[in-house]
Symmetry: C2
Subunit: 172 residues, 2 copies
Amino acid sequence: MRNVAILIFDEVEVLDFCGPFEVFSVAGRQRNQTPFSVYTVAEESRPVLARNQLSVNPRYTILDCSPPDILVVPGGRGTRREMNNSIIIDWIKATAPRSELVLSVCTGALLLAKAGLLDGLRATTHHGALDLLREVAPKTEVLDNQRVIDNGKVIVSAGVSSGIDAAFHAVS
Amino acid sequence: MRNVAILIFDEVEVLDFCGPFEVFSVAGRQRNQTPFSVYTVAEESRPVLARNQLSVNPRYTILDCSPPDILVVPGGRGTRREMNNSIIIDWIKATAPRSELVLSVCTGALLLAKAGLLDGLRATTHHGALDLLREVAPKTEVLDNQRVIDNGKVIVSAGVSSGIDAAFHAVS
């Protein structure tokens, strides 16, 4: 079984994290298999207020989280704050090398960029954040015409619902 | 602005409620409009453990919830319990007549059926629950070949991700 950690933070976009949560959760269900153990993780244990006030209690904090095999970094308005939060960026930096796969959804790519994970790779993000990503990740080829970009270990997806596609891609 | 209440309960399927939550939340965002006020509602104020242990704090309980214009009833394993929970079924019965639209996703149709809301209508549900729906709703024409069925006030959608389609349909 592979651990799938989904990072959440205030103003995370709801579908960005719930889409992959659902896909990894139901993978194998029809065959009564559970190939993935999916959980949310946040900086602190307090409730996270996702976009439009959906209040979610993280299962783990970054301090007590099992090392994930797959790290999912969703997007949302909150990434503009978290991209400058060294605690979160350092956690991503420390966690990614020990993971098999790292997935970003939407503006989650900004956090991967800040953690240096997109250097030399191709990436994308929400169409409204492409210029910001280019600024944050000068060593990254930022594309505006693909929903899911597979760099091998690092999979990057575009706006919101494309995270579902990226998760299907990772599962397959 | 229209109120959109999304019912949640233990073992609600994550994408069933998050998909419509997202669609109604972002509707109008690009034009800086907020045509919908979206919130979760549960029987009690304690955290709801959605499928695969996603822990969500309901915004309202059925006692302090503003009357919704649109009521969304998602599905998931928990519906097998809630369909026999008279407190929830009575709340749906009382709330639906005062609402403009009632949407079910997946096995949420079982709860609408128990509340008598599907009598004389056409309906659908998750493909694995069609027979159960036929049993619970003998006065309903249960179809297995449509993702979204629009009965006017009552819109019924099939498995999981079709709730997103149903929400788009309602928004439009």
